[in-house]
Symmetry: C2
Subunit: 476 residues, 2 copies
C-alpha cells in the first residue's frame, strides 16, 4: 500500500543507503569497539571525523563566555538570536566564515561575505547547488572515486545524474583532460545534457590535493563547454603537509579568461573544525543569480542562530584560528605518519596523501582476483573477522578493485594502535605460507614501534567518543 500512497522518491532507492559504505557502519553499531567495555568490538574507521583538536576548541569556549547566548555574559543576546530568522544570516557570521575561508587558503584570496550562503551542512549545500544549476535528467561529471553521499546529496530529490570521470592508480587518480573529454563525450552519446563538473579538493577518499595544472585544466574545460564547476573544499583545513592547498578561488583570479558565473564552492565546518553536529554548510558562488536563488533555498536549511553566534565569535578570533589550524595540521600529520608507517611495516602501501582524515589503502595484493567481487569478499573478512570497519573502493565508485578508505582522525591513539595491530596481524597471516622470514622481520619492527608509541599515547590521548552515523538505523 505504501507504494501507492507515497511518492516515487519515497518508494524508490535513490537515497543509496544500500551500500557497503553504510553496511560497514551497521556492523560497527552492532558490536562497537570500546577500550575497556568491548575491546574486541568493531573499530569504526569508516567515519571521516576530526576529533583530534577538541581540547583547543574547548579551551577557547571556556575563555569566551560572551560567545554563548546561554551564559551570564551572553544571555542578553538570547531573545534577539532566538528571533532572528533572516536568510542572509548574521552579518558577523558571514564575515567570520569569509575570513576563515581566506585564512585556510593562506590568505592568498579573499571571500566576499555577501556571497556566503548558508545551508544544512555540505549535504544541503550540494543539493541546493544541484537544484540551482540542473534540471531533472541533467548530469554532473564527477571524478571517481568520490564520496558515496554525493549520490544522495546531488541526485536523490533533484533527479540529477552523476556520471563518472574515470581516474585510476596509473597516475595516482589524477583528473586528466582526456578523462574529462571522454566522460563528456560519453554523456553526449547517451543524449544526456551535462551541466557541470563536481570535484572534491582536497579529495575524499584520496586524501590528496589537486595541483595547479589540474585545476587549470578543469577551469579551461568548463569554460570551453560552458558548464559549471562545483568545488567541494570541505577538507581545506585538513591539509597537513606540502604541497599547500590550492583553492579554485586562486585559479580563477589568475585566469582572466574564466567566466566566473560558472564557479561555485561548497564549504562546511564539519571536517575542518570537526563540527558535523552544528550543521554549518556554505555555498559560495561567483554567480549572482546562484547566490540569489541559493539564498532563497537556504530557508530549508538555515544554520541555528545559536550556532551562528558561537561560530561568528570563534572564527573571528585570529589568535584562536591560528592556533587551531596549526595544532590541527600538526596532529593530523602525526596521526597520518603513525598509520601510514604502521601499514608500510607490514608491506601495505597507501596513496601518498597530504590532507583529509583518511588513507587510501592499497590491498590489491590481498585480492583473490582483481574483481569487485573479490574486493567485497576481502572487505567482509576485514569487517567481520579483523573487526575494522573500513570502506571499500567500490562504494566510492572506484574504477579499480582493491582500494579501501581508512579513517584515522575519529579515535584516540590507543584505538589506532589496536587497529594497526589487527590489520598487521591479518596481513601477516595472509602472507604466512609464502614468506615466513619476512613476516618475522616485520613483527619485530612492529613491536618496537608500538611500545615506544604507547607511552606517549597514554599521556596524550583524550577520550574520543565515536558517535553513531547519520545514515544507519532502520527507523521505528
Amino acid at each position: 500500500m505504501g507504494a501507492q500512497l507515497l511518492s516515487k522518491i519515497a518508494t524508490g532507492d535513490g537515497h543509496g543507503e544500500n551500500s557497503p559504505y553504510f553496511d560497514g557502519w551497521k556492523a560497527y553499531e552492532n558490536d562497537p569497539f570500546h577500550l575497556t567495555k568491548n575491546v574486541h568490538g568493531v573499530i569504526q574507521m569508516g567515519l571521516a571525523e576530526n576529533q583530534l583538536s577538541f581540547d583547543v576548541i574547548q579551551e577557547w569556549v571556556m575563555s569566551n563566555p560572551k560567545a554563548s547566548i546561554c551564559t551570564l555574559e551572553g544571555v542578553r543576546n538570547f531573545s534577539a538570536m532566538a528571533n532572528f530568522q533572516e536568510y542572509h544570516g548574521l552579518t558577523e557570521f558571514r564575515n567570520a566564515v569569509a575570513k576563515f575561508m581566506a585564512r585556510t587558503r593562506g590568505n592568498r584570496v579573499a571571500f566576499d561575505p555577501d556571497r556566503i550562503v548558508m545551508s544544512g551542512g555540505a549535504t544541503g549545500a550540494h543539493e541546493v547547488t544541484a537544484f540551482c544549476l540542473a534540471d531533472p535528467g541533467d548530469a554532473f561529471l564527477v571524478p571517481i572515486p568520490y564520496y558515496p553521499g554525493f549520490d544522495r546529496d546531488l541526485r536523490w530529490r533533484t533527479g540529477v545524474q552523476l556520471l563518472p570521470i574515470i581516474c585510476d592508480s596509473s597516475n595516482n587518480f589524477k583528473v586528466t583532460k582526456r578523462a574529462l573529454e571522454n566522460a563528456f563525450e560519453k554523456a553526449r552519446e547517451d543524449s544526456i545534457r551535462v551541466k557541470g563538473v563536481l570535484i572534491t579538493n582536497p579529495s575524499n577518499p584520496l586524501g590528496t590535493t589537486m595541483d595547479r595544472e589540474t585545476l587549470r585544466i578543469l577551469v579551461k574545460f568548463v569554460n570551453e563547454k560552458s558548464i559549471h564547476l562545483i568545488c567541494d573544499e570541505i577538507y581545506a583545513a585538513t591539509v597537513f603537509s606540502k604541497p599547500d592547498f590550492i583553492s579554485i578561488a586562486e585559479i580563477i583570479e589568475e585566469d582572466i579568461d574564466c567566466n566566473c558565473d560558472l564557479i561555485h564552492i561548497v564549504y562546511s565546518l564539519s571536517k575542518d573544525m570537526g563540527f558535523p553536529g552544528f550543521r554549518v554548510g556554505i555555498i559560495y558562488s561567483y554567480n549572482d543569480a546562484v547566490v540569489d536563488c541559493a539564498r532563497k533555498m537556504s530557508s530549508f536549511g538555515l544554520v541555528s542562530t545559536q550556532t551562528q553566534h558561537l561560530i561568528a565569535s570563534m572564527l573571528s578570533d585570529d589568535k584562536f584560528v591560528e592556533r587551531f589550524l596549526e595544532e590541527n595540521a600538526k596532529r593530523l600529520a602525526k596521526r597520518y605518519k603513525i598509520f601510514a608507517r604502521g601499514l608500510s611495516q607490514v608491506g601495505i602501501n597507501c596513496l601518498k596523501s597530504n590532507a583529509g582524515l583518511f588513507l587510501w589503502m592499497d590491498l590489491r595484493s590481498l585480492l583473490k582476483s582483481q574483481t569487485f567481487e573479490a574486493e567485497m569478499a576481502l572487505w567482509r573478512v576485514i569487517v567481520n573477522q579483523v573487526k575494522i570497519n573500513v570502506s571499500p573502493g567500490s562504494s566510492f565508485h572506484c574504477s579499480e578493485p582493491g582500494w579501501f578508505r581508512v579513517c584515522y582522525a575519529n579515535m584516540d591513539d590507543r584505538a589506532v594502535e589496536i587497529a594497526l595491530t589487527r590489520i598487521s596481524n591479518f596481513v601477516l597471516q595472509n602472507m604466512e605460507a609464502e614468506v615466513p622470514t619476512k613476516k618475522q622481520c616485520w613483527q619485530s619492527n612492529l613491536r618496537l614501534s608500538f611500545s615506544s608509541r604507547m607511552f606517549d599515547d597514554i599521556l596524550m590521548s583524550p577520550h574520543s567518543p565515536i558517535p553513531q552515523s547519520p545514515l544507519v538505523k532502520a527507523t521505528t
Copy 2:
C-alpha cells in the same frame, strides 16, 4: 545567459517572493519604526513572531547552565555534541519534544519519540512531507486563506501543486464537507491527482482553532479518498482562550476507522516558543514508511546539536514548561484583547479568534469596491501612509477582498499603542465626512483607554527588537 546556464527552478518564479506579503516587509525595512530613533517609521505587523515571554525563558537559561555546551557546567559535552551527526537526533531531544507536544495538547494524547523526525523549521518539514507523499504534478488541497510561505515550502522544489478549498466569511472560514468535495472534484475535472489535504490548526492567518466536528469531517474525507492529511500544528501553544486546542492526534485516537498511515503532523518551536532562529522543525508521521523516508531526508535540515541539547534540557523541565505555557497564553490573551478592543472602538471588527499571534481584520467597509484591486489600493495606503505593515488577504489566497492579517506579538506595548492610534486615526479620517458625531465619540473613548494602558506599558514592556524577515532583501 543566466537563463540558459541555470535550472528551471532557479530561473522561474516558483519561490513566490513577488507577493504583497513580502513587499510589505520591504516597506518596513526601508523605514523601520523605532520608538526613539524613528517614531514615524513603518511598524512591522506582518511578522508572526512571539516575543512576549522571553523574560521567562532567559530566566530559565540563566538558572540552567548545564543546558549549554558553552558553560563551565556543560562544556564537557562540547566535543560529543559537536561530533554527533546521527539523523535520528539526540534521544533526549526527541523525548523532550514528544513530551512538550503532548503537554501543549493538554496531555490528552501521547507522542512516540521514535516518530519525531527533525527538519529545518516547519519550512523544511513541509517540503520533506511533500517530497515523501507526492510526485511532481500531484496536488494537495488547502483551505483558503492559507500561509503564503506554503507556496514556497510545498511547491517550489517538489513540483507539487496546491489547490484551494474555498472557505469564506459566511461561516467564519470553516472548512465544510461540501468545500472539500468541490475542491476534489475540480481537481479531477482538471485531471490532477490529489494526494492530500493540508490544514493549519490553529489557523494562520485566522487565529482560530478547528472544532472537533470539522476535524472529523477531514479525517473521514481523506479516508474515503485514500489521500493524506497533513496537519500543521505549529501554533498549538498559542491558544490563549476557549475553546481548547484539539489536535488531529486526538481525533484519530477516537476514530477506529481511520487509516493512520494517512496522518502527518508538522510541528516547530518557531511560534510556540518564539525560536524561529533555532530552526527546530518536526515531522510527526503515523506512517512508518514516511518516518523512515523523512528521516533520511532530514540530512538536508538537521537541527544543530548545540540547539538540540539546549531544547532537550529546556523542554524536559516540567516546571518551566508549565510556567512558560501559562505566561505565554496569559500575555497573548491580554495583547489580543487590547488590540481587538482598540479596533472595535473605531468600529473595526476582527474574526473572533482564540489562538495565534495575529488578528484577521475585516476592512471590507473601507474598500472602494469589493475587489482585490481595491484591497491592494487600501493596503498601499495602510503601508505607505498609515505606515503599518499588515498583510492583505489576497496574499493568503483569500476568496474575499478586504481582510488583513495583523500580527501583534512581535512588539512591545508602546508600539502596539502607536499602531492602534495610527489605525484608529486613519479609520476616523475615512469616516469623517459621513458620521462626524460618531467619530468624536470614538475619539474620546480612545483617549481614555490609551492613557490608562500607557502607564502599565511603561512598567511592563520589554524591549522587543524586530528582526528582518528571512525573505526580503535582494542579494549581493
